[in-house]
């Protein structure tokens, strides 16, 4: 199986097919299965097979491809699958077909819509398998264009401003990241992630920065802070960290729901993946004051998001803020990895937990939020209007199946043990508490608040006052349930058998933490 460029296949096939569909720009009939969906499904199946076949070794050595691209910068078109990439690819494979199918049901029959989604699928594969910065950035940026158009052309009213804001924020983040990483790469001398990690591990990084980057004799610490600000800040915009989250709630709300599934399920993870690859090597050297300040902001952010979610009436917005909150846990897990541990085994273990929790939470949150938004979309398609906390409720009696699935998803989001959300959060808190107790304590209220608003919503929707119109809503059909079944099955499965995922990512985690001995 080696030798055949599988990764390129699952990357370029959807990308080019999507482009072709966009150019063709035809309306398809309201049939359930369209060309785009089949293509996406095919690509996803191949992806899943690749993921399963991946043996448990560490390092990005699987299905590596490398073509020289920009020799003067030493940049090659390099793809490869490591542990983290593997699970993210699996996530992509699971979510994308659901999203495309959902869009078709919602009446977005334009081929351009599905084409954009296909393109996004291709670029996501690229981002998750890139082995150097340029390949990563290339696909990262390209993904912005179809996303923009999805929101701009098919979103809810008010979409012009919202889509523009999304694009500008994203570009701002991209450029900041570009400028920052170019500096890092100039210091290290290469754009490969592995080289950066090596430089960090051997403590060569600060010296390199000090030597190679010209600055008016300013201390290395300031340079490192600047680079950290640029790279972390740029990616934080994508993840949706407060205070640079301004684009997120509106975009999630106004975008077509199938697009939001992708946005929250996959694209926010892109930012986190980037952080793991680019910011973690820098973390050990960031001055502790800066680190603590960032941690403080992150903690504040996630609590704020939770509180904000509580105040929302539209379910989509509520979920958007909740998403910011959940990813906030990932952020604090990432940042505490920068705490000095001096090689003490317990600290190292704590970091392992934190990182493991982060990765697991990424996967799990992807599944859960995709599921949540899919259900929201289904609900809205019945109600013909947005699902609101203060809107028509009492759906349990009318649509029992819907209520059931929704309940499952909500509980997973709260972090109920037995569902995948719990494991991730548990590991994160375990790790964070050992490394930086006040951060953990500060974040605890958010858990509580999340539980409160989600349960409140659940209570209203299922047992609240119902609208007389709601009587004739049909419940979920078999095919609709079949589409999201894989997601929910995994959510439950991972809740009981998290080692299915952990064994894939453990090598990566161990390698990363080992490198951070200092």
């Amino acid at each position: 199986m080696s030798g055949f460029p599988w990764l390129s296949l699952i990357l370029w096939m959807p990308l080019l097919a999507g482009l072709a569909l966009i150019v063709r720009e035809r309306e398809t009939g309201p049939s359930r299965t369209s060309t785009a969906w089949w293509l996406s499904l095919a690509s996803s199946l191949v992806t899943l097979i690749l993921c399963m076949k991946a043996p448990m070794e560490s390092g990005p050595s699987l299905w590596k491809e490398s073509i020289e691209w920009i020799p003067s910068l030493g940049v090659a078109y390099e793809l490869g699958m490591d542990g983290m990439g593997c699970i993210m690819l699996a996530l992509t494979a699971l979510i994308m077909p659901v999203s495309i199918a959902a869009s078709q049901r919602a009446g977005y029959n334009h081929e351009g819509f599905a084409g954009c989604l296909l393109m996004i699928q291709g670029t996501l594969v690229g981002v998750f398998t890139a082995q150097n910065f340029f390949a990563w950035f290339f696909f990262y940026e390209i993904a912005l264009v179809p996303t923009y158009f999805l929101v701009r052309l098919w979103g809810d009213p008010g979409r012009e401003k919202v889509s523009l804001r999304f694009f500008l924020y994203s570009m701002l983040g991209s450029i900041a990241l570009l400028v920052g990483y170019l500096g890092l790469a100039s210091a290290v001398g290469s754009y490969k992630f592995t080289v950066l990690a090596e430089a960090s591990a051997t403590q060569a990084l600060p010296e390199a920065i000090g030597q190679r980057l010209a600055w008016f004799d300013l201390p290395v610490k300031w340079l490192i802070t600047l680079l950290f600000a640029l790279t972390f800040g740029g990616l934080a915009i994508k993840v949706g960290m407060v205070p640079v989250h301004g684009w997120l709630p509106d975009t999630y709300e106004r975008a077509p729901t199938s697009v939001t599934m992708v946005l929250t399920g996959l694209m926010s993870k892109v930012g986190l993946v980037g952080m793991v690859k680019m910011v973690i090597p820098l973390l050990p050297y960031v001055p502790s004051s800066v680190l603590q300040a960032t941690l403080a902001i992150a903690v504040f952010g996630l609590v704020y998001a939770a509180l904000a979610a509580m105040g929302q009436t539209s379910f989509k917005r509520l979920l958007a803020y909740s998403s910011i909150n959940h990813l906030g846990y990932c952020l604090i897990a990432l940042l505490v990895l920068g705490q000095p541990s001096m090689g003490e085994p317990s600290m190292q273990t704590a970091k392992t937990f934190a990182l493991g929790g982060l990765l697991l939470q990424m996967f799990s949150h992807g599944l859960i939020s995709a599921g949540l938004f899919y259900l929201t979309h289904l609900g809205e398609s019945r109600l013909q209007k947005t699902l609101r906390v203060d809107g028509p409720g009492g759906l349990r009696a009318i649509m029992p199946r819907f209520a059931g699935w929704m309940g499952l998803a909500v509980f997973a989001s709260i972090g109920l043990p037995g569902l995948s959300g719990f494991i991730g959060e548990f590991l994160i808190f375990r790790g964070v508490f050992a490394l930086s107790p006040w951060v953990a304590i500060g974040s605890l209220p958010a858990l509580l608040i999340t539980a409160i608003f989600l349960l409140r919503f659940l209570q209203h929707v299922f047992h609240g006052k119902s609208d007389p119109e709601s009587e004739q809503f049909s419940d979920l059909s078999g095919s609709e349930m079949a589409l999201m079944a894989p997601l929910f099955i995994l959510i439950v499965l991972l809740g009981w058998f998290p080692h299915l995922i952990m064994e894939r990512i453990n090598p990566t985690i161990i390698l990363t933490i080992e490198r951070m001995i200092f």
């Binding site: 020799p71 290339f138 701009r152 570009l178 170019l182 010209a214 600055w215 008016f216």
Partner: protein
Amino acid sequence: MLAWTVYLSFLASLACFCSPASRPSYARWIALITSVVATFLPLSILIFKTAPDSGAVQTIVHLSWVPSLGIHYLLGYDGISLIMVLLTGIAAMSAILFSWNIEHRTGEFFGFLMALIGGVYGVFISFDLFLLFVFYEIAIIPKYFLIAIWGFTRKSYGAMKLVLYSFVGSALALVGIMATFVVSGAESFALEHLIAFPYEEGFQRWAFPVTFLGFVILAGLWPFHTWAPTGHVAAPTGTSMLLAGVVMKLGAYGALRIPLTLFPMGAAMWREELALLAAVGIVAGALVALVHQDFKFIIGYSSVSHMSFVVLGLLATTETGLSGAVLQMFSHGIIAGLLFAVVGRMVCARTHTRDLKELQWMTLRAQLPFASTLFLLAGLASIGLPGFSGFVAELHVLAGVWQSFAWLSLVAGLGIILGVAYTMRAMLTVFWPSALVTDSGRAPILEPITLQEKWGACLLVVATLSVGLYPKWMLDWITPCLQSPMLKPLTEGMAPM
């Protein structure tokens, strides 16, 4: 063989001038065929020959011209020249295609255009400083007439301003060239001869800034850039494509070939101050584009901003920075051509207005879908989206700037972000206005896009994509030149950190 690009262009110019006024298509076809043949010449070298590892200059013609002054008729090319000649060819072809609709004094229009193109070709393949200067000056006069006769708003003023600034810049550069000649013993103007002379530090201290400034005035360095937006807006579309696309690159190319090659010590002394000007130019151009209401002026100021990128890359003087500068020269040449083509010919010539607010009402996307898609592509390319040549170029420049003046990379990044902002603003206002606006029914009926325009546009898009997706083919030619003995003192002379 490359010298035929020059000769053919001048011959075509003469032929166009003599073509009968009653048959304008003769002139058009002469111009087009000549430019196609002329583009084929560098293309054939690129395709059929592999890039030499040495990056040395290949001589085409070497004759003694004015012995009493040590002037030689010396034409040659290396990788960088070749790329620029290719750019000129592509830009010329599309400019001619986009000027197909000129009816008034067609023969003379194409005559002047071909003369301009011939002069530009000459600059890129001259390796004798006097000869380079001669071609540089030859390119100035046709610009005046092209703008003053076939131009638009304030054409006389715009033409005169453009020409005078160019001339003053070239006069400054001439001072530097003459001084170099005299100081090196007054024997020869050939570049290879002049490089060999060790210029002392005191001389380089003033010779470098004078010569460099002289050339980059034509490249549109802030604060000597005001001629560019005025002139480009006043010019007819084909001319502005060439002006923004290629002629501004003459300044940057001249700056690379002459002051940067001859005076590396001087470059090291003045780098930071000049780089600051370039950085200001990036942001200043972008800021003005952000608030301007005139579509064509927005593109004009964006050209100023992008050209400052080139100058910044040149001043970074590392191999990466210089590669970035050359790449950006090519990339921006193509992209500026695209932008001016859409804005000038496709939109403004049909709608007879350049005001953003008025253009909103014209349902341009529905009536001119080709133009709107094209502007989308051009806009994305201009922003620096990966996949287009601008991304690769900006990468190199940023990397080079990090190596030389880290703090300016932030300014450059700011410039890119502003670029995103103004491009999006223009694109959205004109082509994707909100539904409220377009339903008013006030839109005039617009003529469809002609076949020539489509060909011209596709040419440019293919060019930018080819570099954006697979930059290696261009870099293989550029990198050896930067490593050659000619430029080594510059790239190595950069103060180590």
